[in-house]
């Protein structure tokens, strides 16, 4: 048994190792994804270009403008003469927000204790617009409390906001767990879903069937090299996120790796199940891409929060293995919780693995399926 198993693993390893193009994708994909998400695709807002209409031109308005210009969220792209030019600036696509300070802003503030400014935002991208306006409001609020310094206000509520676990509001805290789920899903499920069906297609299955090999041995031996590959990928993603993106691992590293391997095994057994029920590589690939990759992206909570989904989608999201894993990674890696909190999620993944494995062994055809 042991020799058969090792020989089979060795053979699988040769298939993977000698297919350089696929190998390159297997190792390159996680690195490229982490780097793209880390540096190119980010929903953090930094250095947004804005325009300012300063019709007041006094000391107070100048101090407000300086305050805005010195924040890391905004860069002042241009000064406009009046509010009518704002439309043109938006249409040229140069700026995302226009701040209009009306005439006598400073003096009206001093004498009537009331000053109005207008903030126009380009809401063709609603998320950016609302984020930018709230940043602008925060800056103006800060400015206002500076003005009030030393004076006693009749009522004042000051919310003291602290962003826990991710004080700098870095996007990496959100996407690293997502990328880990995606990459492991892709490598483990997509690659193994082709593994058995490929033998059916090339005809080598016919020879394997007329041999003493047991189905369970074939399934385990085929998954083993991919489990090793996923371990390497987990390691490379974690190294990149710690050393390149500066994301610390708050919880136990061992727990994180152990649960990532559990998720890999769940994905591998799902891939095997697909491989045993399909009869062409194309079908297997299509099922894993359309049927698994998209739900992983959409329903794991990585792209869109599950809490906001309609009930049917919420229910469906429970059968997506990545949903549970995404929660585990976020909890362990970012919040630093232990197994005590996430044992339920880990149990769900374990049960899924057992079901997938059981089904794929049951569905493994010991004879040729001819139509």
């Amino acid at each position: 048994m042991k020799e058969q198993f090792l020989a089979f693993v060795k053979k699988e390893w040769f298939h993977i190792w000698r297919d350089k193009k696929t190998l390159f994708i297997l190792f390159g994909l996680p690195i490229v994804q982490i780097l793209i998400f880390g540096f190119a695709l980010t929903n953090e807002i930094k250095n947004s270009r804005i325009a300012v209409v300063d019709q007041s031109k006094d000391e107070t308005s100048q101090r407000l403008i300086d305050r805005i210009a010195s924040s890391r969220y905004f860069d002042i792209e241009e000064f406009l003469k009046n509010g009518d030019e704002a439309d043109g600036a938006f249409k040229r696509g140069k700026v995302k927000l226009v701040l209009i300070i009306p005439e006598n802003f400073g003096s009206s503030l001093k004498h009537t204790n009331h000053g109005a400014i207008q903030v126009l935002a380009d809401a063709s991208d609603p998320n950016t617009a609302s984020t930018l306006t709230s940043y602008m409001q925060a800056i103006v609020g800060d400015f206002q409390s500076d003005l009030n310094e030393g004076k006693k206000l009749p009522y004042s509520i000051v919310p003291e906001v602290r962003m826990l676990y991710n004080p700098q509001l870095k996007g990496a805290y959100n996407f690293v767990p997502g990328v880990m789920a995606m990459v492991l899903m892709l490598i483990c499920t997509l690659m193994t879903s082709i593994a058995i069906v490929k033998e059916k297609e090339t005809g080598t299955m016919e020879v394997l069937l007329v041999s003493p090999l047991k189905p369970i041995l074939v399934i385990f031996a085929k998954s083993t090299p991919y489990l090793f590959l996923s371990f390497i990928n987990i390691a490379s993603i974690l190294l990149l996120s710690v050393f390149v993106l500066g994301l610390p691992i708050a919880g136990s590293l061992m727990l994180l790796i152990a649960l990532s391997l559990l998720f890999s095994v769940a994905c591998l057994s799902l891939g095997m199940l697909i491989s045993t029920i399909t009869d062409s590589q194309q079908t297997a690939m299509l099922i894993s891409l359309m049927g698994l990759f998209l739900p992983t992206l959409m329903l794991s909570g990585f792209m869109f929060p599950i809490e906001n989904m309609p009930l049917p989608l919420k229910i469906i999201s429970n059968v997506v293995p990545a949903k549970w894993y995404y929660f585990i990674v976020k909890s362990v890696m970012i919040k630093g919780v232990g197994l005590k909190i996430i044992w339920k999620e880990a149990l769900v993944l374990t049960l899924m693995t057992i079901i997938f494995l059981g089904l794929s062994i049951k569905n493994y055809k010991v004879r040729l399926a001819l139509k």
């Binding site: 020799e3 058969q4 090792l6 020989a7 089979f8 060795k10 053979k11 040769f14 298939h15 000698r18 297919d19 090339t202 005809g203 080598t204 016919e206 020879v207 394997l208 069937l209 007329v210 041999s211 003493p212 090999l213 010991v366 004879r367 040729l368 001819l370 139509k371």
Partner: protein
């Protein structure tokens, strides 16, 4: 105990709306260490029959045993002891010759060393290419490697599905010599082939067409049983001659055969001169008696099926 015993075995496939009877109920037995050939054109049912015997598909009716083991109930035990070489090249193309051989030895829980004597003659020819990926071997070399891999666990019965299709004449000859030597080691060999000339190399052959056996006998017996008078005819314009021959009374069959046309006479009493006068041919003809070979027997059997 017979090596293989088949009783009323049949198999149909559903192809769209119609049901195709790939193998009609067949019964036969094969002795230990017999070299048995299934000869027939493409689509005769050879592969389906071999797949039923190698436990790969389940028959609709009938039973079969291999080494006394039932092909349905004892399939696990059968798979340990038989060797099977499918019609399509089915080794790992990205693995080298050596790696393929070692892989198949290990999954059959043996080693290349243990049964090297069985494959030595064949493997000696492959040895210079032992590091080459199997996918980059020539057609003949591929088949030799596949035979090695099917033999490496010293099977009691060897099933070969069209092992010589796509292989050059010299390699084919070598291949059959190897099969003869394997037979001497006590291995029962079932081989299917579309090539008539290979039939005479078997101990017994089954002529197959449309899922039926037309004859099942030693090749010499099949030829001996050919009762018709056979003539060979040659002229300058071969094609019009064939058309002409087919229309003449007293000729049961006419078909091209090498550089001659073979003509089967309805009445054995018809002489060459009588035929010549009937033909009234403008071109000069060479007509002579011909000795039937297995192909003539097969064509005649097919025609009268």
């Amino acid at each position: 105990m017979k090596s293989i015993s088949v009783n009323n075995l049949s198999k149909s496939f559903i192809n769209g709306k119609e049901t195709v009877e790939a193998v009609k109920p067949l019964s036969f037995e094969i002795d230990k260490a017999e070299l048995f050939g299934f000869i027939g054109p493409d689509g005769a049912g050879k592969t389906t029959l071999l797949r039923m015997l190698t436990t790969l598909i389940i028959a609709d009716t009938g039973t079969a045993t291999v080494d006394g083991l039932d092909v349905v109930n004892d399939y696990k035990e059968i798979r340990k002891r038989v060797g099977y070489m499918p019609g399509k090249f089915s080794l790992y193309q990205d693995l080298s010759v050596q790696e393929n051989l070692e892989f198949f030895a290990t999954i059959f829980q043996t080693t290349v060393k243990e049964n090297y004597h069985l494959i030595k003659d064949i493997y000696d020819q492959l040895a210079p290419f032992s590091d080459r990926p199997a996918g980059k071997l020539s057609g003949g070399m591929k088949q030799k490697l596949a035979l090695c891999c099917a033999l490496i666990h010293k099977p009691t019965v060897l099933f070969l599905d069209e092992p010589t299709t796509g292989v050059d004449a010299v390699s084919r000859k070598e291949f059959w010599e190897m099969l003869k030597r394997l037979k001497e080691q006590g291995i029962t060999i079932l081989v299917s082939t579309p090539y008539m000339d290979e039939a005479s190399l078997c101990d017994r052959v089954a002529l197959m067409q449309d899922g039926k056996f037309l004859r099942i006998d030693p090749p010499s017996q099949i030829i001996k049983n050919y009762s018709k008078k056979l003539l060979a005819v040659k002229g300058k314009e071969m094609f019009p001659l064939l058309q002409h021959l087919k229309q003449i009374d007293g000729i049961e069959m006419a078909y091209p055969f090498g550089e001659y046309h073979h003509v089967v006479l309805q009445n054995d009493a018809t002489s060459i001169d009588q035929l010549k006068s009937k033909l009234q041919s403008t071109q000069e003809l060479e007509i002579k008696p011909a000795t039937p070979d297995i192909e003539d027997c097969f064509i005649y059997a097919m025609q009268n099926n």
